[in-house]
Assembly symmetry: D2
């Protein structure tokens, strides 16, 4: 931490800051420039409370030097984190594809979509049973009935299930059915939820809030990691900007930035990050070209009938086309699609793990 | 809802859209321009599902006409909503001042601050016992011990208590101690929480997410209102923009916009919306000048020792100065500070209401 | 300037940075923490080239300590800058009101509006003769014919004229007619224009770009000031954010921030910063309550006939109402409206100054 | 254009709007819903002045239906625009690579870089002689001396030259030396400049302003096209958002969106859109994967000595590596790098065209 004094700070004010640093059991290192004095704080910058200095007389700014997250950082764990999802390895060289409808709407809709995405090469099935909706009057999901359909799709296709969790009290229920709990963008800073999913020790897909900085996303991951749960995937799903031509702005920069700052796998969601199915394949290709470890894509057998996110859902045939494009891009960057576990292998149920 | 067709949409595609509209039990009204056809959907726009049209062949855009919220709208309830908090009327002509520390840190810190803000003219006391913090390593609040201190401050000063709720399971505990439950910015779209506080029937201070549009904030209020809980205050606390000179950007436009769109009281939080105590009084004045019904301000007896938000907390003497400025501004716009209930009046306990 | 080394920077890399600092004729001051080394650069931080350090091996970040502007800063000139415009003092205790149509459209439109705003208490007349328009097919202004109408309005009402300049080659023409040259938001970083208006030595109203930081706005002012032209007013006119309920988001925080960072007068433009006439008066009040030194407001005798910005233009009677509200707010903050020079005083022509 | 009336608009107000529509020589088409009346305006929506309706009594909103640009739209010109730059075809199936230093700093720096990028596969050379800089105290470019060095590099390597234009009066000078005039991000809405480069009939690289929407960028292109100059490339170079981990946010969505809306070639600038050389190759790959027709990349033989943009400049060897990655990505999407014209071909001088 560096404390920048005002140009007209007095010797007494400087001494006051130094005293406060030492009160915290740390060491102050003075650097007197022609214009200003800067006080370096030596010790563990994470532990001490930066804000207390801002009010001291003569202080202009306080600049943190250390990054505020630790367990999530590549400085702490240099190698890529990897973990298996029912035989599919996440975070390894192979690109992982998660696909399925926004919401589980009916047994036939889900099973049809599940078979179609499996056929096209998907590794895992997404589908929401509890839906966060902007309007209290919109479809809120099928709840436990939807989870049962997901379990059936899992059993039939062998694909692990990714589904959203909206409240800590749903953990016992959801962990019975789901292989990965998704923390949605609107809940990225719902700390009660982050603590609960951290304690669950279940694999987590953490979506970036549409207005969270990359650092805040890593801090949210840190909450989960600090409970000893290391199986966390980070998902870029577009940020909110002034541009309205697309639903969100895909922060494609976040892909290489995250790969440099953290060891956690990075997933891109081109469906939410664009909001229009016509742009999904192009942005999916961009994500893998930029270094993403996987994609999560909305697919619906009949998008015009979808109860949510129809405009951004691909039809299965377009998804299949996208998969073949992604295979080519993966090879162009020296990677491949993750191998799909043989369907002969008897699918393990979530409960039985 | 208006459905805008592509310039090259065929007659068949237009017929397809019309059919879909009628399948929804609504009426389609064609308007053929020189360039495009526009299809007006006549009926209750709120009830039908806009997204289903976006995927139909030939459709370019779909534009909603009705506002998506109803109970929160001034069209539905033309007159200002008002409700009492222990004798202080919120939403009426008098400006309401809520003040206190960001976090409850100790009994003496809280009581000292409570007496100071009461003396200066505050109507209610704010103070967090459960704190949402970006870092899992930061101070997370005193929990129930903090609530007990708030109850004591309430008893001694007679001021109603505003405190933040972070999870639905805290409702029984918090409603025992608090007069107003604050839903924080990071939880504005935590729908499980919105439903729970709606059902609690307790007065709510709903803070705007730093990434939410004004319309989304009103939709969040709609969640609460749809449970029959009509005692909701809306709080503008700054939005996230590219500007970094201040912690957030006060969306001062939101004050007159909200006053025009909704009947709910509008409160401004100049502490979070600026992040620097030097700017708090100026923005507080601006808020009341623009039409806000109240202010919520962070005050700390010793900001340099504060465990959170020290840089944006006012010392009590500066708060007192701010109150006298606000009184002058209130008069300039034909309002006044809300009368402080006589301190002789035996303070009603929260439990006893 | 502080150079933050990577946690794993070697001694040799540190020595390399120190050498580079000394090559620049400056002094390097090492501060070795437990985690990292920070190198303070002592000397005139403004003069040396920060970017050259970012590529050196072992360097993580470079943090400037000095502000990048000088002539615009309050550290350099502590007292408020003031200057007269035809007898009206800008930057002094009195609030200055600039009003008039977006574009000069006709002689009668301009004169009628000019008399009406003068009557209501305006100190200066705004009106565009050269208009920057998003579309090449929109009305582009009357050009020199418009300037002649402005000159006539000036002569008849005695008000100084504020008009926009779009290209350096217009300076000889515009300085003949206008008392203040306005640099529009879209040209805030048109450096050829900034240099030209700096050299003109004419009073300047510099509008903030809708996506410029406060610091960049001060750097743009620095361009003008560096040519010896000290008569610069800064104008906040709203920034671009994700919120679409208003045309722009008024950055009301910018008012106290600018008043603290710079000695230059600060003007608010509530017409552009809201984009809707219904919100103009509320935001004008907020601006003065927050400390603005003046307002620039669009007024049109018949907004529905305006060729540009009709939706955000006030009718003269609403402007008059706004002026009386502003008078009350000014008094509430210990200020007043600037005195209007007696109309008996023979108006000085721009050419004759 | 659709005019949405207020829910409580009277019959008389509706009649007033209809009358106004007809005064404009257009036809009004009424659509009476249960809640509101919507008035469709039939005729050429581009020609009439939308804002005039917003002030009419009873009007709530006005929604444009037609896109505001025409010459730039794919509806107007369905096929991709292509044009040659000294034998390199822009806008065709082959990806075009423009590379070189931010600023021309010296003859040796430029020639060394030019040969290196040519060798690595670049098709054109970029280099600034007139530089827009945030600070008046920063290096402003070598001016005409820089242009002469560019001409020499052109003659020696045969590569066409791309250089920035900052003011209309530089056109005669710059068109003597440069093959492509670049309009920089800060000047994207400098309409005097857009008109001048439109009239020049010279090929233009138009950079998106960091604050412009995609639609506004197309409107800026429309200015140039409306002068009959059809050789316009559009360049996405990052937009400004709240994220500070990178200098700008690459709006990768803009690539497929632009390819769908316009026939003009789309170029990506990953140097400015990230601001850090480590991320340039990843984002360059993403751009081509998403459908970009070319890249413009900053390369410097010695980035630590660069007078501007050093942190985002690639060394020649890294650029060469990037080119081979781009070749692989281009093939993965069914494209290739544009063929480099044989160096035996006697290079045509710009003046001689």
């Amino acid at each position: 931490m560096m404390i920048i004094m005002h140009t007209d700070a007095t010797e007494q004010q400087i001494a006051g800051v130094v005293e406060r640093v030492e009160d915290n059991g740390l060491h102050a290192h003075l650097s007197k420039g022609e214009e200003r004095t800067v006080i370096g704080v030596v010790g563990d910058g994470r532990a001490i409370f930066k804000d207390q200095f801002l009010h001291l007389p003569g202080v202009d700014r306080v600049i943190p030097i250390s990054r505020p997250y630790k367990l999530a950082s590549r400085e702490f764990i240099p190698d890529n984190s990897m973990f298996p999802l029912d035989g599919v390895k996440v975070g390894d060289n192979g690109i992982v594809l998660i696909a399925g409808p926004c919401s589980v709407e009916s047994r036939s809709q889900l099973l049809e979509t599940a078979y179609a995405v499996r056929e096209a090469g998907a590794h895992a099935l997404r589908g929401g049973a509890f839906k966060p909706r902007t309007s209290p009057y919109s479809f809120q999901g099928l709840g436990e009935a939807g989870l049962e359909m997901l379990a059936e799709a899992r059993e039939q296709t062998g694909m692990p299930i990714v589904t959203e969790i909206m409240a800590p009290e749903h953990i016992p229920l959801l962990t019975r059915y789901a292989d990965v709990l998704q923390v949605g963008a609107r809940n990225m800073q719902n700390y009660a939820l982050l603590n609960a999913v951290g304690e669950s020790q279940h694999p987590i897909l953490l979506k970036r809030s549409m207005m969270a900085s990359i650092e805040e996303m890593l801090m949210a991951a840190e909450y989960i990691l600090s409970h000893g749960n290391r199986r966390v995937m980070l998902c870029e799903r577009g940020i909110r900007t002034f541009e309205t031509a697309t639903r969100n702005t895909t922060d494609i920069n976040a892909v290489p930035v995250l790969k440099s700052l953290t060891h956690l796998p990075v997933i891109l969601d081109p469906s939410h990050s664009t909001g229009h199915w016509e742009y999904v394949a192009a942005i999916a290709r961009a994500g893998v070209a930029a270094g993403a470890d996987g994609l999560i894509v909305e697919v619906h057998v009949n998008p015009t009938e979808a109860k949510s996110d129809g405009p951004q859902s691909l039809k299965p045939e377009r998804f299949a086309e996208m998969v073949s494009q992604i295979r080519a891009i993966a090879e162009a960057v020296g990677r491949s699609l993750a191998p799909v576990p043989s369907s002969e292998a008897s699918p393990v149920t979530a409960a039985g793990k």
